[in-house]
């Protein structure tokens, strides 16, 4: 599945992705972003700047938001990773309350930044489920949006905070 020339080192890694156990051999030079998209087919995590400035590739690793473009595959061995694909409950025909709030507040225009914005929002709620506007802005400072001007996104996070329950967040840390 993974294209690779023989001289490049690969490494056996085990990790949880969206609650599912994975056991894979991965090229050590691949970033988590490339591995998610090109090896596993999880293309919800977006590739923007690839230098850690835009936040489009934000995923949650062990409860913390990180840039998937700045992690190499060996560094996720043993990690618990959540991406946008795992946010809505598996099998349920329903979006997660954070996703609903983004829709209702028109927080997605082109939508490219939305997966990263939503993952950062989850990480914020894991720390603080009742943030004020300053805390929302600080938590999303590493996620750029070139469409909305951020107002609708901050509205969405505020709205999501008013609706979210512990149940909606539990899986992201377990």
């Amino acid at each position: 599945m993974v294209r690779n020339n023989m001289t490049e080192p690969t490494i056996d890694i085990r990790f949880y992705l969206n609650g599912i156990a994975f056991n894979r051999n991965a090229p050590a030079s691949w970033t988590l972003l490339r591995f998610l998209r090109d090896a596993l087919g999880y293309t919800g995590t977006k590739c923007g700047c690839e230098v850690g400035e835009c936040g489009a590739c934000t995923v949650i690793v062990d409860g913390q938001p990180v840039n998937a473009c700045l992690i190499l595959t060996p560094q996720i061995d043993g990690a618990n990773i959540w991406t946008i694909e795992g946010v809505a409950a598996a099998g349920a025909n329903e979006l997660h309350p954070i996703q609903k709030a983004f829709l209702e507040c028109d927080a997605a225009h082109c939508g490219f930044c939305s997966p990263g914005m939503i993952m950062s929002t989850i990480a914020l709620f894991l720390k603080n489920s009742n943030p004020d506007d300053a805390q929302i802005k600080q938590a999303l400072a590493g996620n750029l949006c070139r469409c909305t001007g951020y107002i609708q996104i901050i509205d969405a996070v505020r709205k999501a905070a008013s609706k979210i329950t512990e149940n909606d967040l539990q899986k992201f840390v377990s």
Partner: protein, 284 residues
């Protein structure tokens, strides 16, 4: 595209030092500076130091010792750092974004040796000393001698930065950390200033420390200013003189550059503001 010819991830320090002894491995911790550099570089061999237990924060009677792999998030949320090394607490909380702070480490900030490394001016105020390990043994280097210039340090290819040791402050002091940038977050610092001032009951300065980033080729202390401040009574006029001296020092060390017409008045303003804040007087 990143090209690697080897990736090692040892569990034991001895093994890590043995791998480094070949001289052609680069240690990787958080990777937030290194991975973008790898994208436009030559094929490399990496030594992952994340399993060596280097994310500790320890204290004894005289020192606080910080493991090189402590992340900025860890340092900017730790109570001991907040109480004993408040400049570092503040500096690490201002690095990049939340995502970057979760991965980037203080050791990486020092080794990358960017002139605008946020943690370095803070650590310089605390006379930080670096513990470097290799198969040949251990050596301690003062941080103010370690950085030689932009992106250049005196670390040898077989050495690993193990920890950073900061002297505990003997007398209570006020402090100020100012970071200047083009925006409020996810900011590459245009200039940073970190200062501490201890004073007696008559408002006479007993110990002043001041260090800056992106002022000189490497972040550094300004002993000339400290000398000017020590044993003087706190006053706005004194800080004005100190700020003008800082500008003279910058031009002497870094020369007149394209950015000087901007940086000179800004540096003067920042030094005044930092010294006022650290000594608890009104800046206006």
């Amino acid at each position: 595209m990143i090209a690697l010819s080897a990736y090692r991830q040892p569990d034991m320090l001895n093994e890590a030092l043995e791998i480094l002894s070949s001289g052609d491995f680069a240690p990787i911790a958080g990777g937030t500076d290194l991975i973008p550099q790898l994208r436009c570089g030559q094929q490399r061999k990496l030594l992952d130091i994340s399993r060596l237990g280097l994310s500790f924060i320890k204290k004894d009677d005289n020192f606080i010792e910080i493991g090189a792999a402590c992340t900025h998030s860890r340092l900017s949320s730790d109570d001991l750092i907040k109480e004993k090394l408040p400049l570092l607490f503040r500096a690490t909380g201002l690095v990049g974004s939340w995502q970057i702070r979760n991965r980037g480490t203080v050791g990486g900030n020092i080794i990358n040796a960017s002139p605008c490394a946020d943690s370095v001016p803070a650590l310089l105020n605390y006379d930080a000393e670096l513990v470097l390990l290799s198969q040949k043994g251990r050596r301690a280097v003062k941080l103010n001698e370690f950085t030689l210039g932009p992106y250049k340090t005196q670390i040898k290819p077989d050495e690993l930065l193990y920890s950073i040791r900061c002297k505990k402050q003997s007398t209570p002091s006020g402090c100020s950390y100012l970071k200047l940038g083009r925006r409020q977050a996810v900011n590459i610092s245009r200039m940073t200033l970190a200062a501490t001032i201890a004073k007696d009951k008559n408002d006479v300065i007993t110990n002043a420390t001041i260090a800056g980033g992106s002022i000189f080729p490497a972040p550094s202390r300004m002993p000339e200013i400290e000398k000017m401040l020590n044993r003087q009574k706190v006053s706005y006029e004194l800080f004005e003189d100190a700020a003008n001296l800082a500008a003279d020092l910058m031009i002497k060390e870094s020369g007149v550059r394209w950015s000087t017409p901007y940086k000179k008045p800004v540096l003067i303003g920042l030094v005044q503001r930092a010294l006022c804040e650290a000594s608890g007087i009104n800046a206006s």
